[in-house]
Symmetry: C2
Subunit: 389 residues, 2 copies
């Protein structure tokens, strides 16, 4: 298979974008990525679009040709495809685009992710995101996504001595990083007390342990690495793209404190890239809930099982450390427009690997990891990106 590079990136601000429609944000991110890649739309072969629930959220299915159309490309008869895996939809779109270019089926493609989540009441949005867990065996009994992750948190606290304060430190870290990101939904710094005293959502998780509902879109342009220098001085190679699944319902898992889908996807990704966790200097991980970030750091192989809480509490993952985590602010502070998240993670890594991340730049980063999760871990996707010297 051919080597694939990311040639351009684009992203809207994340947040409550009530003045703009789904199609407008989708187009904005896509155009930015095309301009950044210095690629004419005449070179494009396909669009792969990640989205969780446009049918329920904006009464519109069939959105991949819609975005092509409103980009002015409707008459060009490109290939377009939407892919969906709950909140891992964006990363799956990146996987699809990678496969299309790696296989030789297309040379240049746009990968987009978009979600318009704040045009419905929060209670509706909560029901919709709950439909990414097992509807018949979890959601109908009242188990919302936060409630399911809260059970994982309780078990982690019980088994490993993780404290409420360890969890809260993940949110503090996210807002600190988000304060440096102009695209972030939340740019305010918060402290431990604020997280610990926030209203409970599903104990032990409080309001500030949970990533927000956001609108937003992100896009990348992919092409063959061998032709990348024509478009950019800093092509970023996709060194690995791996997807792994697990049972939908928590009660069928081997255990509650490990996402086996993440463990497997990460192992496959490091093998594909011939890399190890120690090579990674910058990582964008799934922190939809503070507990999610702890499981991610452990299951990706960055720290031993049960030790991620103290690591976050000690502030190991900020700028200047061995590994900077969620420099974008993550889902918690940059925001959580579900289908856009996986693509936005790649966008942030490309910024970092190019050295264009401004005041949140990680010095000397050449390898980055992106980790996206659908539902409570029924899908995990891991990408490894490398700067080509």
């Amino acid at each position: 298979m051919r080597e694939v590079a990311i040639l351009g990136i684009g992203q809207t601000k994340f947040g409550e974008l009530w003045d703009r429609s789904f199609r407008e944000i989708g187009i904005e991110a896509g155009f930015q990525a095309l301009v950044d890649a210095k690629l004419g739309s005449g070179d494009l072969g396909a669009l792969y679009l990640g989205n969780m629930a446009s049918g329920s959220l904006i009464a519109q299915e069939h959105i991949a040709p819609l975005i092509l159309d409103y980009s002015g490309l409707g008459g060009r008869h490109l290939e377009a495809m939407r892919v969906e895996a709950g909140s891992a939809s964006g990363a799956l779109a990146l996987h699809s685009g990678w496969l299309a270019v790696a296989s030789g089926a297309h040379d240049f493609v746009v990968v987009g992710g978009a979600e318009k989540l704040t045009d419905v009441p929060d209670v509706v949005a909560n029901r919709i995101i709950g439909s990414t867990a097992d509807h018949e065996w979890e959601e109908v009994f009242g188990a919302t996504l936060p409630a399911l992750w809260a059970m994982m948190a309780r078990r982690h606290m019980n088994d490993f001595g993780t404290t409420r304060s360890d969890l809260a430190s993940v949110a503090v870290h996210a807002h600190e990083m988000g304060s440096k990101n102009p695209n972030a939904h939340y740019r305010n710094r918060i402290n431990l007390d604020a997280v610990l005293n926030a209203p409970p959502v599903a104990e032990p998780l409080g309001l500030l342990d949970c990533a927000p509902f956001s609108d937003g879109a992100a896009a990348v342009v992919l092409g063959p690495l061998e032709r990348a220098r024509k478009f950019t001085d800093t092509p970023i190679r996709i060194a690995a793209s791996q997807v792994a699944c697990d049972t939908m319902a928590l009660q069928h898992r081997r255990e509650l404190t490990t996402l086996d889908s993440t463990v497997v996807a990460a192992k496959r990704a490091f093998a594909q890239a011939r890399r190890a966790p120690a090579d990674v200097r910058v990582a964008e991980i799934h922190d939809a809930y503070t507990i999610s970030a702890l499981l991610a750091m452990e299951d990706l192989g960055f720290v031993a099982k049960g030790t991620a809480g103290p690591a976050f509490a000690e502030g190991l993952y900020g700028l200047g450390g061995k590994l900077t985590v969620n420099s974008s602010g993550g889902l918690k502070a940059q925001g959580r427009p579900f289908g856009a998240v996986g693509v936005a993670q790649a966008v942030e890594l490309v910024r970092q690997l190019r050295g264009e991340a401004g005041e949140r730049q990680v010095q000397g980063a050449t390898v980055g990891l992106a980790h996206d999760v659908g539902g409570t871990g029924a899908t995990s996707v891991v990408h490894l990106l490398e700067r080509v010297n």
Copy 2:
């Protein structure tokens, strides 16, 4: 890219399957396909699942890992992905699976399509299928899918002299073929008078010009052609797999009587397979509405623009002719479980090319074409399948 073969097929009955859930029908089709391929689940690498609107229809997103899970494969951590393009979702899933095997990313994959459309009231289903057209510029003004296709029919009648009776003959043909298919939603024969006198839906289209809402699932197992003989004496090669898009809204099209997406996808597919329309002996085409079948036959290159109506009226496409169309009964009689349709088309072609189609067998067929359309033609997908001798 590697040559890809279909090694196994499976399909549920299509119809109002009120006694079975989405996950049950998905699993039934998948298991049938695995058994037919004589493939152990241990050999599988991925699942690609086509589905239009599970979120709106059964309050469940993230359905690809769900089907894996309830197949007993949840602990195997395979890759799984849902793809969506309205009623072309199934064909896009087949395209995704083809790409995964052709690229070498996976050796053996299951491609499934499933939809549970009859668990909601018809008026809700109608709104949901309308969301595959342009919601903001068509559906909110009351333009349902039948209404949009009716405008194409009116224009076709005006421009080419197509008659109401020509249209009706498409439905008569479909039910004749469906009468020979044990899986068909409708197995009753109908006559022209029945179609012409059915209650109007969107004039000139009446109730019997419109394919039904159906539940159903279909699946195929794909693998590398070079290894296919190990599993089957009659591997069916995927000679072409092409996707093309067009504007979402009808008013932006070049004209109303041609689906340019179909024209382009077909041209690409015939070029990829080094074949011509005259090579095709058996075709499964998109006949969601009787007018859809006329446009399909013309846009695929089987007949000149404007002449498909008289061709159907003369009965050219039954068994024994040069080209048999929709031997399954098509969407009109076999049924229309949206996301399953594109996969079911491939299943029917494999039956025909293997010589296993029973009383609807087309003699001597070695090349088959499948044509799936999303919305009013914003997506068209064309596959060419060939029996390998």
